[in-house]
Amino acid sequence: MKINVKVLVALAVAGSIGLASRVHTQQPQAPAEIHDFHVQGNVWLLVGAGGNIAVQTGDEGVLVVDTGLAQNAANLLVAIKKLSDKPIRWIINTHVHPDHTGGNEALSKAGRKTNGQPAEILSHENVLTRMSAPAAGRPTASWPTDTYFPEEKDIFFNGEAVMLYHEPNAHTDGDSIVFFRRSDVVVAGDTFVTTSYPFIDQTNGGSIQGELNALNRILDLAVPAHEQEGGTYVISGHGRVCDEADVLEYRDMVTIVRDRIQDMVKRGLTLEQVKAAKPTLDYDRQYGSTTGRVTTASFIEAVYKDLKNPQGKPRVR
């Protein structure tokens, strides 16, 4: 039997392309199991749908901060239903990424405003700008329906003020930190995570100084109880529920790494020299990674590039 090598190579290449294409487009995976955790007051954390999700419940209905990945939307609705049988009235997006906005369409359609329309999707206007760009390929029904552009926005729902603070050029250019004032819970989005170094998404307008400004904002909002423990709780974008002391350690870490790389930039080190100097060595076993969305190398590179061409300024208190 004669084997045509050219055909085999062509088949192998075609197969590889097909595989690469499937990986790139991220075929939907099986829906994840979603766990709920009562943070305090009216606010719950839902874990497992993608990015962390906060749910506020009360007599007026349900407010959801972020909506996870699209493939988990059905399970997310079941998890929300366990917390309240009231309709979803509000959806807030902390930023544009699909692991925080993927369920927008399903949740909005499952909910309703008091006038019977699908539940409102509220975000900073830069989220709408990014999501509605043709290249984003996001369905129209998943776009924010209500946006704001000043530094702050607030609504009153379920008996408490819900404050939104825009953090310019932090994780992205559309980050909102959400503060449930009576429940005393801050929802950080991906400006604060406990599972990795911060993701400075420069293609979506992120910057290291904006990231630090966001972390310092969370510290300003949080008031600890006795012994610097508890009090205001902070829901991270990925990872666990924290209080001020935890955010403080993370803020310190990001600042120290920034200061080290800034010193290296001033001394004229190249990116490769900076990486070789291991400016994150003391934190790598906790936050470092060689795979995934945020690697140690990508974090160093983002900080280095940003410091070579700074995007943000420290906020003056």
Partner: protein
């Protein structure tokens, strides 16, 4: 009828027996500082990492640590975490909580007089919280009796430090403890594991004496103040790598080889004494 009653009484005694046999740790306990006194009471010197099986990352973190960080608002009212404080300056009161019906101990409560800390060791078999639950200074502890030894496992511990000179612990720390009572003395043995900052578990012990009188209290009505005028809001005091002005001071003052002063698992074993004799004496550090 008599026979049935005898069986019931025998069964009741059999069920009640384990509770009656249980060791009690109830009381006010005061520490003895004959072990590691310089570290536990006055506090360690900067750059003294001796006896700690730390990672290179922990060493860098400690060399970068500037004590001025404690002047930041959010650092001022922090207290010591569970693994640290029992090796630090502390007296504690321990009492039992019992199920009113079964008289089984459901929890051991501790009041640590340093910074008014309270701790619960759950004895009712409950699971530890999920990984996304908040951490606390004392962590979440569950205990069980192994003979007369109380063994406790703690997770969800906040990040603080292993030694009071900037050697950090991480939030991934866990701790196993053994409380061993012999008369009026109690030995506390702790095995502190930290995949981030320790290459091997850190094992240390302390002795406590049962006190007839209540210990003093170090009350802690802490309120932060701005200690440094005009410091930028976002500043975090730290030393850049290689620029700590105190680096090498400890080794030089005590004539300890620099390598040994920097700690690491190797330096904690008796065999290291042979190597120690071959290492160069420290020289006077350069002024930075």
């Amino acid at each position: 009828m008599k026979w049935t009653r005898c069986v019931v009484i025998a069964l009741s005694l059999a069920v009640a027996a384990p509770a009656a046999a249980q060791m009690s740790l109830v009381g006010e306990w005061s520490p003895r500082y004959h072990e590691d006194q310089p570290e536990r009471i006055p506090g360690p010197e900067l750059g003294d990492y001796t006896g700690l099986p730390i990672t290179d990352g922990a060493r860098l973190a400690a060399d970068s640590w500037d004590a001025s960080r404690l002047t930041l608002r959010e650092h001022q009212c922090k207290v010591h975490n569970g693994p640290y404080i029992l090796h630090g300056p502390v007296q504690f009161r321990l009492w039992e909580e019992k199920d009113p019906r079964t008289q089984q101990v459901t929890a051991l409560r501790m009041y640590l007089n340093t910074y008014e800390q309270e701790r619960t060791i759950w004895m009712d078999g409950r699971p530890h919280p999920p990984e996304w639950a908040p951490h606390t200074w004392q962590g979440f502890s569950t205990g069980k009796w192994e003979g007369d030894i109380l063994t406790v496992y703690t997770t969800h511990i906040k990040q603080e430090w292993i030694r009071r000179n900037g050697v950090p612990n991480s939030e991934k720390s866990t701790m196993i403890e053994h409380f061993i009572r012999h008369g009026q003395i109690m030995t506390h043995l702790q095995i502190w594991d930290d995949p981030v900052y320790l290459t091997e578990p850190l094992i240390r012990s302390e002795d406590f004496v049962l006190s007839e009188r209540s210990g003093g209290n170090w009350l802690w009505p802490c309120e932060y103040v701005d200690e440094i005028v005009n410091r930028p809001h976002s500043a975090v005091p730290s030393y850049l790598p290689g620029q700590n002005p105190f680096e090498g001071d400890f080794a030089y003052r005590y004539g300890i080889p620099v390598e040994a002063a920097k700690g690491g698992a190797e330096t904690t074993y008796p065999e290291y004494q042979t190597k120690l004799r071959t290492l160069p004496k420290p020289t006077k550090p350069e002024t930075k």
